[in-house]
């Protein structure tokens, strides 16, 4: 008899075969008449411009990360909203705690200016190599112990 995972395996197998049959039958039946504009990448009817592998501004990633956090928050809020009446006050305070944590992160990001699109203000650490610079930066509390 099949185990639970056996059924999953069977399901995967059927999925693969299903797709393969469709593709193979279409490949056998369809006419094959390529011409240049048919072979270009489909971009909603527009003429494609440049490569798809381009560099994105790194700030998109920060926004994406913040988005993920609040996205997940909503995922947690929905089931909570459905059952919190039956769970009582403890569930309420649990969710408050969870939201407080996220809010702390939000406040941090906001305050640090990472939500400002026009004004990137990177604080790059000072770090100089070389004897001249090093001597210049010695202060009186860097003498012998």
């Amino acid at each position: 008899m099949l185990t639970e995972f056996g059924r999953v395996f069977l399901f995967i197998l059927i999925g693969i075969v299903f797709v393969a049959i469709g593709l193979v039958v279409a490949w056998l039946l369809r006419p094959h008449r390529p011409y240049p504009s048919k072979r270009t990448t489909y971009e909603c009817g527009e003429t494609p411009v440049g490569d798809t592998r381009m560099r994105f501004n790194v700030r998109f990633y920060v926004i994406a990360l913040i988005f993920i956090v609040f996205d997940v928050e909503v995922v947690f809020l929905f089931p909570w909203a459905l059952v919190y009446l039956s769970l009582g006050w403890f569930a309420f305070f649990e969710m408050i705690a969870f939201l407080t944590i996220l809010f702390a992160g939000y406040a941090y990001v906001w305050r640090k200016g990472d939500l400002e699109w026009d004004r990137p203000a990177p604080r790059i650490p000072r770090y100089e190599r070389g004897v001249g610079v090093r001597e210049a930066r010695l202060t009186e509390d860097e003498i012998a112990v």
Binding site: A107, W110, R123, P125, I143, A144, V145
Partner: protein, 477 residues
């Protein structure tokens, strides 16, 4: 599965809750105050001390929380004390270092606290999922900390290497957890321990345990999985290296003690001999390669591989003496290694120089206090009797002999002799070699000196009265 959660659970895991609240406060302080770093060092120190105190008040009693997935009190709190003291010492040693390398940002302390939070969770975990959660919380904080000096090429390299290899090792660990779950039908560590005797020798269970073992051996940098350690420890900011080499290892060893009990290790067909060979290889490789190093930071990295080998001997022994030895060793190693890295951080200049053996020539004339402390840390790391390092080795080797692994104890003792060469080489450099022509400047930091003083005091105290720790830890097994 229904896990009942009550407010009492959050109190029961007191140190973890304190650490968590502290990390949040530090992050908020960093964003609210203009000079957050100056506030955060004290906030972080207070957080570590508070977590340590909460843990200390509760080492005797032990129970479980969160439906049996997290252990409280006893063992978990002992581990929490080790991690909190590692964190507190690191904060004191970091402040001056961050200022002189120009990376004095308040987030550093938040990351330290989050890393300690993860370690505490690893020490307290009674469920493989909670354990994994703790491991990742710790590791992610470590990846960022290793790359914290972000305009420095070596620091970036260190962070990236650690991240890529760490993620790879995590994959092994997770797959191992999946296979163990597949064979035992549970992720609860006590239940796995119950079911293990009937499963030992079956291929899937053994492979699962072996994969978990790989993940843990990576974290402690034991020999076949040690490649990352020298590069990561050398590139990371010096106090961070000290913190990773002690706290990170201690957390993984706590997981070893919880999961790899005798019934899981097994006899003939088990993994015990595999761990024994890994321990021997780590001791031999770490000590022999450390001899050839010219950078002290790199030497300490290899020495940390060797120490992982020594501590593994206690895990292999799998008896009360060995387990007590591991816990004692973790405390001793935390104190002495953070101390050694702390001295390095103080002698190092802002440009990452003064890290080689030659740079320490004649240091004793210039900085007698610092040199004396460094010499004591080196003696303790080498295992010279009156200090804590000796008793750590004594307990783990005694445990191995009781368990019938005499050959392992012999390898350990021989390798300790080898290690004396490179530890004492530094002492000879400081005391019996003339200073080079160009005068070196040694950083002066009262917070750092305070931390080193505490470390030295702990080293001597634990060496003279090892029973203070052993009396506590022997109640856990």
């Amino acid at each position: 599965m229904n896990i009942p959660v009550t407010p009492g659970d959050l109190l029961a895991i007191g140190p973890i809750s304190v650490m968590f609240a502290g990390a949040l406060v530090v992050l908020l302080a960093e964003s609210i105050f203009r000079n957050g770093e100056a506030w955060n060092r004290w906030l972080a120190l207070a957080g570590f001390l508070a977590a340590g105190t909460v843990a200390f008040l509760n080492t005797g009693w032990s129970g479980v929380a969160f439906g049996g997935t997290v252990a409280t009190g006893g063992f978990a709190n002992y581990c929490a004390i080790v991690y909190a003291s590692a964190g507190a010492l690191s904060v004191l040693l970091s402040t001056d270092y961050l200022r002189k390398t120009g990376i004095a940002f308040g987030e550093y302390y938040a990351l330290l606290m989050i890393a300690v939070l993860g370690m505490m969770l690893m020490g307290a975990a009674l469920d493989l999922v909670v354990f994994f959660l703790g491991l990742e919380t710790m590791s992610i904080a470590f990846y960022v900390l290793a790359a914290f000096a972000r305009s420095q090429g070596t620091s970036n390299e260190s962070g990236l290497k650690y991240f890529l290899l760490g993620a790879f090792a995590t994959g092994f660990l997770l797959y191992g957890i999946a296979l163990v779950y597949g064979t035992t039908g549970t992720t609860s560590i006590p239940l796995i321990r119950d079911k293990a005797p009937s499963l030992i020798g079956t291929p899937v269970f053994t492979i699962g345990l072996a994969l978990i073992l790989i993940g843990l051996l990576f974290k402690i940098a034991a020999v076949p999985f040690h490649m990352w350690a020298p590069d990561v420890y050398e590139g990371a900011p010096t106090p961070v290296s000290g913190f990773m080499a002690t706290g990170g290892k201690a957390a993984a060893f706590a997981a070893f003690l919880v999961l790899f009990r005798p019934e899981v290790l097994g006899g003939e067909k088990g993994l015990r001999d595999v761990i024994a060979v890994v321990a021997a290889a780590s001791m031999i490789f770490g000590n022999v390669v450390a001899i050839a190093q010219s950078s002290i930071k790199r030497m300490l990295a290899y020495s940390s591989i060797a120490h992982a080998g020594y501590i593994l001997v206690g895990v292999v022994a799998a008896n009360a003496t060995g387990a007590n030895g591991v816990l004692f060793y973790l405390m001793a190693y935390t104190v002495m290694n953070i101390g050694a890295f702390g001295v390095l951080a103080m002698v190092e200049n802002g440009a990452g120089e003064n890290l080689h053996f030659e740079d320490y020539a004649g240091l004793s004339a210039q900085a007698p206090v610092l040199s004396l402390m460094m010499a004591l840390f080196m003696f303790s790391l080498a295992g010279v009797p009156p200090f804590a390092g000796f008793f750590g080795k004594y307990y783990v080797f005694a445990g191995a002999i009781q368990a019938g692994y005499t050959w392992l104890a012999i390898v350990g003792v021989l390798m300790s002799v080898v290690s004396a060469y490179y530890y004492l080489r530094l002492v000879v450099m400081m005391y019996f070699t003339a200073a080079s022509a160009s005068p070196r400047r040694v950083g002066k930091s009262s917070a750092g000196l305070l931390a080193l003083g505490i470390a030295v005091a702990a080293l001597v105290y634990l060496g003279l009265f090892p029973s203070t720790i052993i009396d506590v830890t022997s109640r856990f097994f």
